[in-house]
Symmetry: C2
DNA sequence: CGCATAGTTGACTACGCTCAACCCTGGTGG
DNA sequence: CCACCAGGGTTGAGCGTAGTCAACTATGCG
């Protein structure tokens, strides 16, 4: 189910939903703000992140069109992280109470929600694994294995390395060196941005 | 809702549930095993973890009595991590299909499940934050702030430091030094295991 | 009183970050 | 067509932080 396609949703929710437009860099909500709404991304992307006291930025994940944003706050009263528009973005906002009611009244809707949250939990657990790996080289390998489609064993890195590096929580230099090392070790083969797992 | 209290569950699930006993260290399931059941812990603890190729152990979380174990596999076909009994443990096993049916048929049950999964997602996001902080000192501070009840600003560390250290993904020595440093910096006060945030 | 375990401290090492220089590619304009 | 420039990527040197190993201290228990 695509939560941002209002006319696919149960009618009572349709009438409660409102659209909201964000320009690139605009903040949808901040940590510790009172949470009265749950959002779905219709177009664009929303990045969830958190700022530590010392200014380090912790990347959570990016919410894509059709996905829900900050599912957890249905059962909490304050947002736990900061949501910021990655590009110009359109979101649909649902009041929490209406959304909760619909979860109880409509089993299909509820199941779609559960699938989505479960998927998110799964991805977040993968993120935990990634961030927990100390060694940069191993972390990169883990990442490559994760983004490589199972059958073909080959990926092309589309994003600039700098971006991948921040996603992996390391400097671009460390990423570069890690790729070298993996090639030396014979764990991967590489032509430019095209990586083959061995 | 306590998922391990069978007689509190909807009757159709009661008849599908089976008990299983694990001794300390026994494995409930392994990564990549076909997932046909979902479990709830009745007594004891189940630790979820993952072994990397190079043998590093990544701690996910510990499942306490009343909680579900590996909720995500309802919508996946293979377990994504390894579950191991922390102590002698009793679990309740539900066939996935029965559990899924019940989620569709019983809104209260479904809501309890959603609350549980959402909570787990929330905690896992907190873990991501924790593991993403590079500096040991800052990581410890973040952890202390997280486990300290908001009003009183004081915690007693019950678990042995070694255990806390692994939970934080650092050595016990590093934890010890970090606590010292935080005290020097004036970020915390400390008498033995009793920590006060300043 | 001795032993075992948990926690602390010290010395050494290794890994990754930072800063800086360098290389390579693609695009632009003379 | 080639010189120039800009940006992404690579490589090098120095530094800081955390891991490891080992010694030492403190606490609790038989």
């Amino acid at each position: 189910m695509d939560f941002s396609e209002i006319n696919q949703l149960p009618p009572p929710l349709q009438s409660a939903a409102t659209y909201q437009f964000l320009t690139k860099g605009q903040i949808l909500f901040n940590r510790n703000e009172q949470a009265e709404r749950i959002y779905a991304v219709k177009s664009g992307q929303i990045r969830l992140l958190h700022h530590t006291q010392t200014g380090q930025v912790i990347q959570h994940y990016v919410v894509q069109p059709g996905e829900l944003c900050a599912e957890v706050i249905l059962f909490l009263d304050r947002y736990t992280c900061c949501a910021i528009a990655e590009t110009d973005t359109e979101v649909v906002a649902f009041p929490k109470s209406d959304f909760l009611n619909m979860l109880q009244q409509n089993p299909d809707f509820a199941l779609a929600f559960m699938r989505q949250v479960s998927y998110r939990l799964h991805m977040t657990k993968m993120t935990v694994e990634l961030r927990s790996i100390r060694s940069a080289t191993e972390r990169v390998l883990h990442y490559l294995q994760f983004i490589t489609p199972p059958e073909q064993g080959t990926v092309t890195l589309e994003k600039p390395f700098k971006e991948i590096a921040t996603e992996l929580g390391m400097s671009s230099e460390a990423l570069s060196r890690a790729l070298n090392q993996l090639e030396e070790q014979g764990a991967i083969a590489r032509q430019k941005r095209r990586i083959t797992l061995l």
